[in-house]
Amino acid sequence: MSRVSPDFLPQLLAGMVVNFEIAAIALLVGLAVGGLLTWAKLVGGVVGAIAVTLIGLMRAAPTFVVMFFLLNIIPSDATLFGVNVAPSGVMTVALSLVPYAAAYVADNGSEALKQLRDGSPLGALLFLPNVTRAYFVLVMSSSAGAAIGVSEGIAVILREAERMPTLGDKMVLFAIGIVCFGITLQAGFALMRLLQHRLGRLALRSRQG
């Protein structure tokens, strides 16, 4: 442990903030795109069929490949109406997570609307904990950014690991990473369970009332 540089932990925490940032952007864009796809699915007909196909493709697209696809397909000097629109590394990772987030939102959004129509507002409200779950999945998936040089949490760990001479030292470092990400994940799941519990009580109260 003495070999770990003193600024490793602050750098790791700063890197993890980047992971949260990426996940937040991906979820926000995913909510917008997924919401639109849910609406298109409900419209039915050709529009609905297109939406269903798109959701299927988005569900099947591997995040890591989408990330490299975006990185290589958008020129670094791309402009739109004179404005540079080439995404940064962080934005590229966030956008690569959008197909997963949008497909997830569309699937759960449709299910929530179905529950609402069937007269189960509690079932519909399950959409919220599900979105929270997706957010933490996105936080974990954003570690793919390390492959394209984004300075997120895992990139910080791997950078430090390069300096470690033995496997044992590296394992200690990896364990610190797992603990940091694990605490975050478990806290997220605890939040999700709390949300579910509150929603359950709310539904029970409204039924009694």
Binding site: L57, A61, P62, F64, S76, G153, L158, I178
Partner: protein, 555 residues
């Protein structure tokens, strides 16, 4: 015959015998003769107004020589106000002085240095231009070469890297299109691609890149910065490229011959070496060349055409595939009929085609392996978690919590680190480590679902009976949706194996695009391939799910 007369006859005979040979063997004498003749031809009244004039004669008509140099290449060609600096600029000045002409410099860059020669806008170019066989058909290179660069690997001083075995399984930052990328790839290093070389030193400083590969002439400038030199050093060099002064191909016979001789003399007399030292550029190549051009067999007027003295041009052309022509025709047809500039570099050259084929096979092995590993780990961890033994159950639960808490990239890296500690690095080891990591990550979640299903079955049966094979089979059927979901997830996760050096398709195509064009087409094809693979896996998993659910209903 007196002794005196006899001696005179002997000396006269000796002079007649040796004189023509001496004249031919001295580059200085050959140069003097050539320049004298050209000056004389230019002095003939009306000669300068004639068309089709030899370029060297024309230069003496104007008294000036137009030299193309770079303006933004530190240490070799830069401009500060009206002052031009750098090794290339000083070589141009020295050559002009030797010719007895006044130099006039023109700015060129990598794209314009050949067209400006062909358009007769400049007389010669001295602009960090590597001499490869492809360029031999466009310009005439002056031999011997005035400099040589090589690709150098730069990294932190603390990293002990001396040769190729030390870089295998490491990531090296490179620029797209660099000819030496193919060589790096062949030594099992992974590439991180950048558009511009200018960002590499910054990426080293902010530690995004641990290692970077680029021309040593590019890094030479950064190594003049004490802060950079304190942190980084050059690990080793490879892919040497001789740099050539070049003139146009037509009408330049005499000019080229004169410059060949000057270049030869400059090497022999250490003139290039002196200029290099003054401009703080590397001198290793020039020191070696000085020894060569002082050798009696090379220090002749014809030495600059002797293969034993001059360096060959770099052969940068990759072997084409037998169907490269048809692929090119298809690309042209596509562009003509659809307007889409499709480029398929993976089908055009043998190295790219071999990487592509291996990438597809390895990707399919990875997908099948990850699916099998997920299923095996799911069944094993599901069984262990359902065990009545505390000693078996709790370690399994701990393992699942750890795997759920570790981001996918970290789990892969840990798996690769353990595998490399046990076995020497190879592609098979990287693929194996990736299969184990993906199987563990997804199998642990699926195993948890099986254990939960078993628990629910036990509860339904009114108590905790000992788990039987029949009950376990029903639990597997009950958790079919979860198992299928994690199998699909495992298939989707396989491209990330490229992060630990598994040579699957993403890795192969990244390598191909590092030395070939057509990034957009290549990565579009990659996306289509993986989506198709996942769709097939989804379809197969759907069949598995139906079979498992039917089994549950039957039971």
């Amino acid at each position: 015959m007196s002794i005196r007369r006899g001696l005179f006859v002997f000396l006269a005979w000796l002079v007649l015998l040796v004189a023509p040979v001496v004249q031919a063997e001295t580059p200085d004498a050959a140069l003097t003769t050539l320049l004298t003749e050209a000056r004389a031809a230019a002095a003939v009244p009306g000669a300068c107004s004639q068309s089709g004039l030899d370029r060297l004669v024309r230069l003496y008509c104007t008294g000036k020589i137009r030299i193309g140099v770079r303006e933004y290449y530190p240490l070799f060609g830069t401009r500060e106000g009206r002052e031009r600096l750098g090794y290339d600029v000083d070589v141009g000045r020295a050559m002009a002085e030797r010719l007895g002409l006044t130099p006039e410099f023109t700015r060129v860059n990598a794209a314009s240095r050949i067209p400006l020669l062909a358009d007769d806008k400049i007389d010669l170019t001295i602009a960090t231009m590597g001499h490869n066989a492809q360029r031999d058909s466009q310009v005439r290179f002056i031999r011997p070469h005035y400099y040589q660069s090589e690709t150098t690997i730069v990294g932190p001083k603390s990293l002990d890297i001396k040769d190729w075995p030390d870089v295998s399984n490491r990531t090296i930052c490179v620029t797209i299109g660099n000819g030496s990328n193919a060589q790096i790839v062949s030594h099992n290093a992974r590439l991180m691609l950048f558009d511009e070389a200018g960002v590499l030193p910054d990426r080293l400083r902010d530690e995004v890149c641990t290692l970077a590969a680029q021309d040593d002439s590019f890094f030479a400038y950064y190594f003049t910065d004490p802060a950079f030199t304190a942190r980084f050093d050059q690990k080793f060099g490879f892919a040497q490229v001789p740099w050539g002064v070049a003139v146009a191909q037509s009408g330049t016979d005499r000019l080229a011959k004169a410059l060949d001789l000057i270049s030869q003399i400059f090497h022999r007399d250490g003139e290039f070496l002196k200029i290099a030292k003054e401009n703080h550029v590397g001198t290793g190549f020039l020191e070696r060349q000085r020894i060569v051009w002082n050798r009696p067999d090379c220090n002749t007027a014809s030495g600059n055409t002797d293969p034993a003295c001059v360096l060959p041009a770099l052969t940068a052309v990759l072997e084409p595939t037998p169907f490269a022509g048809r692929v090119a025709a298809f690309e042209a047809w596509m562009e003509q009929h659809t307007g889409i500039a499709l480029q398929l570099p993976m089908f055009k050259t043998m190295p790219a085609w071999q990487l592509f084929k291996a990438g597809i096979i390895n990707s399919l092995i990875l997908v099948v392996g990850a699916l099998a590993a997920t299923l095996i780990f799911a069944l094993a961890l599901g069984a262990v978690q359902s065990s009545r033994s505390f000693v078996l159950r709790w370690p399994a639960r701990l393992l699942i919590v750890v795997l759920q808490s570790s981001p996918v990239v970290l789990t892969l890296v840990i798996s690769a680190a353990v595998a490399h500690a046990l076995f020497p690095y190879s592609s098979a080891v990287a693929i194996g480590a990736a299969i184990v990591a993906l199987g563990l990550m997804n199998g642990s979640n699926a195993g948890q679902a099986i254990a939960e299903a078993l628990h629910s079955l036990r509860t339904e049966r009114g108590g905790p009976p000992a788990p039987t094979t029949e009950l376990y089979g029903r639990a597997v059927s009950r958790s079919a949706t979860q198992i299928v979901s994690f199998l699909i997830n495992a298939a989707k996760g396989t491209p990330i194996a490229s992060f630990i050096g598994a040579p699957e398709l993403l890795s192969a195509l990244t390598d191909i695009t590092s030395f070939a064009s057509g990034r957009a087409s290549t990565y579009s094809l990659l996306l289509v391939f993986y989506i198709a693979v996942v769709i097939v896996v989804v379809w197969l998993c759907g069949k598995l799910q139906i079979w498992l659910e039917r089994r549950q209903v039957t039971a």
